[in-house]
Amino acid sequence: MSRTEGKNLRVVLYEGPGSTPLADDDRFAALAALLDNGFEVTRPVAGQHVAPADDAPVLVLGLLDPLDTPPEVAPGQEVHFRNLADGDLLEAARAVREATGARKLEAWKPWFPVIDYDRCTNCMQCLTFCLFDVYGVDKQQQITVQNQDNCKTDCPACSRVCPEVAILFPKYGKGPINGDVVRAEDIQREAMKVDISTLLGGDLYGALRSRQKDARKRFSTERDESKALLERKRCLGKLKKDLDIPDEVLMTLPSAEDIEERAARARAKLAKRQAISQTVKDTRPAPSETEWGI
């Protein structure tokens, strides 16, 4: 099971008829402990609205009065009852989570790009920039996050190259990448970064390839390994600084040959999609590689 699959156990903290209300301190402690351990919690109050049940398993916790017969439950709904007077709250919740196969608290940071479609212009810069196949296009040829599990935790580089500041990482520290309001100076700053990459020769990876080629040439003429290594280090350092790319992502960057192979695959895929859309409904000429940004 992937870290992004599975249902959470929903805990209902019950204080209605047939139970003794919790003390304020106990209720708060229970809520905080359950949430910190990855459970979803509902506090129902008679006559007030909460989210309706879905097909996730439910655990009803409370200081419940002893019952001769268990309450009736809707068919298909998995509901468990535990009395808080009988033992530890978290132990009870964890036991039911285990028994129902509900999702456990994962040691992961939910890190993936979220597209602000109010700002996105479908320029495909993110798709061509990301080396980990996170982005794709949907049936309407609109950019979409296709493989979010491929995203490298703490790497916001694609949002840095987005000219419209349309890519969010809600767990990021600073705005506007974290979802804060986009200000005029943010757009100007991002535009400057794109200009820098253009000045470097079309795109950053192109620049890297070119530098690598130059370094190889120098290496072959000068036979100076330390200079070549220094050049590579300097180049990666600049990339890290400009785009805030974590070291572990730089360590996993594919080789120039891999990048060229991926680009060729992307071009073939786009051409195939375009050919299909031309055949089915669109009579416009196919966009050029420049228009697609590849």
Binding site: H49, A51, P110, Q148, K171
Partner: protein, 104 residues
């Protein structure tokens, strides 16, 4: 009016003292509410519970930046309605301000 509280369990980007203060006062208020461990995590899993929340009518959400919350729901395939939803930002605003709006 339904209330949703996000605990941002999987990352520490919401100040702990703000989220704890909001939760405490919500807990003591006598109001019904739903609390989730982490909206980002739910969006990543396209949790069906988000659909129930999005379709649940007027909702006040205590979480983080409104732009992030809006597009997290959208990313899960369950966009929030254009009207009737208020997102309160525990990353920027004080617990007093959030609770004042939440329990108004």
């Amino acid at each position: 009016m339904s209330i949703l509280y996000c605990n941002c369990t999987y990352a520490k980007v919401v100040p702990v003292e703000v989220k704890r203060d909001v939760l405490r006062r919500l807990s003591d208020s006598g109001r019904a509410f739903d609390a989730v461990a982490d909206l980002c995590d739910m969006s990543a899993r396209k949790d069906p519970a988000l659909k129930k929340i999005a379709e649940g009518g007027c909702t006040q959400i205590a979480a983080c930046y409104p732009r992030a919350v809006k597009w997290l729901f959208h990313a899960a395939g369950t966009p929030l309605p254009d009207a009737g939803v208020t997102v309160l930002n525990m990353r920027e605003d004080s617990a007093d301000d959030v609770v004042k709006e939440l329990l108004a």
